[in-house]
Amino acid sequence: MSAVIDTEAAHGSIGSDVPAGRSRRGAAPAGRRPKERFIPRAGAMLVMGVFTLYFLVPIWWLVVASTKDRADFLGTNPLWFADFAFFDNVAALFAYRDGVYLRWLLNSVLYAGFGALVATLLAAMCGYALAKYRFPGREAIFNVVLGGVLVPATALALPLFLLFSRVQLTDTFWSVFLPSVVSPFGVYLTRVFAEASVPDELLEASRLDGAGEVRTFFTVSIRLMFPALVTVFLFQFVAIWNNFFLPLIMLRSEELFPVTFGLYAWNSSINQFPELRSFVLVGALLSIIPLIVTFLLLQRYWRTGLGTGALK
């Protein structure tokens, strides 16, 4: 079981956007089949071991590479350490162009952190309303939202750019932030979860006690939905963090870049400006740390939330 968790953490941290299906498949059968035989079990462990290795080797390479100075990076074994220059590299990265990298990191945390928070709140309200209130057009709305899950963010970037151009909001914080607070998948997940975990009786009781709908939502329902909300938050956090195409199209001012886009911009000029290379390497390594931290902190809830979604 712990292998599963490790894979998940590693997986998420390298920024894939499909951890959901994998972890769902990984977690569910283990619970349903208590009497496993030795050989299938060993086979499963082997497969997981191989995949763990597969996911971890690039990170290992990155860790090793970012501890080397330029000469060692080319001249020594790429999978083992040479002279330890990690802190020199980090210091050089932080000093480059007045610490623009730190600015990017902060931007990413703002976009992803606040964006995911607002997105979660909106998704929770929407999903809850769709689950608990009966009104005409409810299913239609839900189906439209579900349709939204199918539209890739990349396809929306250009239309969004043209829209934001109309209102002269391109190249602003809002041009990346506003599209990020929408999460159709979050609505789906919270609706399913609210249906399952918020009993109508409880809402009745709350109303009888004189609480308004808003108060009921914030004091009662939201707590019951908490595991799902953490899941939505994590999903959205990762999605925003990794959404590189939207900033690419929207942003021109360096001080607004998120870290993914900033590193991409540097990386695209490496041939002409080779000194950027070590900055890209060290920057990439440091940029996955916030993702790993978020995952480790919220992992417990994440699994509960996903499990619920899967069973439904």
Partner: protein, 443 residues
Amino acid sequence: MRHTKRAVAAALLTTVAIAMAGCSAGTAGSGSDAAASCEPAGGDVKLTFTSWIPGIEDAVAIWNEANPDIQVEVQTGPSGNAGTYQNFFNQLEAGNAPDLGQIEYDALPNFRVQDGLENLAVCEDIVAAKDQFLPWTWSQASLGTADELYGVPQDQGPMGLFYRSDLFEKNGIPVPTTWDEYKDAAVKIRALGGYITNFSQTDINQFAGFVWQAGGQWFENDGDAWTVDLTSPESTKVADYWQDLIANDLVSTYPAWTDEWNNAYNSGEVWTWNSAVWGANSILSGAPDTAGNWSVALAPQWEAGGESAGNWGGSSVAVFKGTDHLYEAAKFALWLNTSEEALTSLNKTAQIYPATTAGLELPVLKEGVDFYGGQKIYDVFAEAATQVSPDFTWGPTMTQTYADVSDGFKAAASGDGTLLDALTKGQESTISTLEAQSIPVAE
């Protein structure tokens, strides 16, 4: 990394398709077609300038200090083909393009046929500055026309021969001055277990530089229709030459710009690199163990005693359609690329190699470089810069041409087909792409 590039390219292509669908849907007449006049606006002017050169703000800061009434704001992004060009097209479509932008020579025709650039030839100051530039850089920006100019030349990439002087000397091999001698040297070096150079399957603009040097042409525009000639006699000659070296295993075929490629140079396996002036920096950072052992010579010639050089890279500063401040934008672009203070700053922060004759005399370009054993390598490139032919024209769909030829080169490097096959296919696909975009093609 290559996968990411591919994914990004695919995504960009999708948006191109969408943007074009948008174009054809009836916004064609939205841009004002009247040629803007080059008059000062009066009052305070604010300009935006997009460039991906790291540290260009330093030069712009000098300008802003001296010109309080024309303030320039720098915007940035990834390098041109990695996204900034597509952003320019999106912005032109949305009507909020920056006033100025960095555009490489090989991308200028694309912006020209999409009608995205102001003709700077209406500005007297710019036309008067023509003599300050190397003639061929000017013709790159004027797209070969006499009365149009779509960018102020910023930098250039005259090509020379980087070679391991220590290895040539130790093994008694003369440094080749013609391509025939180059092949002879290649045979000797192969016998010693090394390779004379690495043939890059992906740097099609390097190959174009070889064709350029040989006096070939890939594209021509008579003002109306485009002629595509990737298989001209000169181009065929160059392709056959390199095909021969590849087929006889006289050159290595590592994917360029990768670690194994760097390592091939760093370990001394590969002895020379036919590259542009900016390549000096690439070797320095890619092959640090070989410091002091490199030298630079003029490129090998097709005829003994010939004086011809190719060019690889270089960009211009263009002014986009829709700007309200053509005069000020042109003035800034001219200052940025001709004034000594700006050129010095650009060279210091980003090793920009200027496109002006005076710029090649910057003190910093007159110094010996330790990595090259103290050789004054920029003197060699300054000489090469005067030998570049002004007749080479780029096509309007270079991204596609590069990609298709590169696919063929990769196949050829692994023994499937020849370089000439690749050029032939690239020729066909380029013509069909032009036709698909309703760009007239001359047969």
